[in-house]
Amino acid sequence: MSLDVLVVDDSPVMRRMVKRNLDLTGFELGKVREAKNGRDALDKLSEGVVDLALVDVNMPVMNGIELIKAMKNDARLQAVPVVVVSSEASNQRTAEFADMGVGYVRKPFTPEELVEAIIGALSGGDHGATGSALAGSGPDF
């Protein structure tokens, strides 16, 4: 079963970095879409629900907190696993993420930290994750 993912961040560089690390989860990836803020994310989600959303906090138009609240208030979206990927580091916000039942990875993250958070968020479901580290041949080995 393949994973459809939505990556939400106003930085195109960060969206690419997150996508690069998605490869390492060992999951089979389906559609990986991008959104540049919370409003854009909700528009994309209205086209189709995803299996995982990776969400930044500080974004213009609609930030990550507002997006997550909107998702939690939508019967169609409330069960979508969310991992916050943010430079956000206040104790208050960290507690808020835990209360909202979302995963959290702080920037700068190692690939291992992001993969662990994703696997944790998905652990309720069965996506055939191997949990193994390696996927495909690389440029050097």
Binding site: D23, L24, T110, P111, E112, V115, S132, A133, L134, A135, G136, S137, G138, P139, D140, F141
Partner: protein, 173 residues
């Protein structure tokens, strides 16, 4: 208890294969214990395929071979960027499969002389390993890096158990 005797007591009877500085070894002898001592600013990389029972250990001293391409040709294990590919390829040659390999790292410590570690070779070695592993789609299963203590690694090929020995004693990594 010295590092060497601590490892010996936990794996008596094993055939010890020593990996010196700027060296690497791969084995599929299930009775072998591949060891490397005194990982200071050097970085140690241990890989193990639990199905094929193939494992290897690299003890690299410097991050990038561009400082001495001739040396890298003669002694690839000296540098992370030439040693790491050789470690993996030697393991493949012995029957390891990439998607089964478990990869762990240790070392990259900082020993400031006079309170300063200007060049930070330890941190650079670790960064070089992390970068190359990421480029090649490999995650790190465990790491014991940084700090200011020397470390010893011992990889038992039969079980895949990796022992880390430092000033705090011996533990599985």
């Amino acid at each position: 208890m010295s590092h060497a005797s601590a490892a010996h007591s936990s794996r008596s009877g094993a055939r010890k294969i020593n990996v010196g500085i700027s060296e690497l070894q791969v084995s599929r002898d299930t009775n072998a214990l591949i060891m490397t001592h005194a990982l200071g600013s050097c970085v140690g990389v241990a890989i193990y395929d639990p199905v094929a029972h193939v494992g290897g250990l690299l003890h690299a001293q410097l991050p990038d071979s561009r400082v001495d391409a001739d040396k890298a040709a003669r002694q690839p294990a000296m540098f992370v960027n030439t040693g790491l590919p050789k470690l993996f390829k030697d393991a493949y040659a012995q029957g390891a499969q990439k998607e089964r390999l478990v990869v762990k790292i240790a070392g990259g410590a900082s020993f400031a002389s006079g309170g300063r570690d200007v060049n930070r070779i330890g941190a650079r070695n670790v960064a070089a390993v992390r970068q190359m592993l990421l480029r090649n789609r490999v995650l790190i299963a465990a790491a014991a890096v940084g700090g200011n203590v020397p470390r010893t690694l011992a990889l038992h090929i039969g079980s895949g158990e990796l022992l880390l020995i430092d000033d705090n004693g011996e533990r599985k990594l």
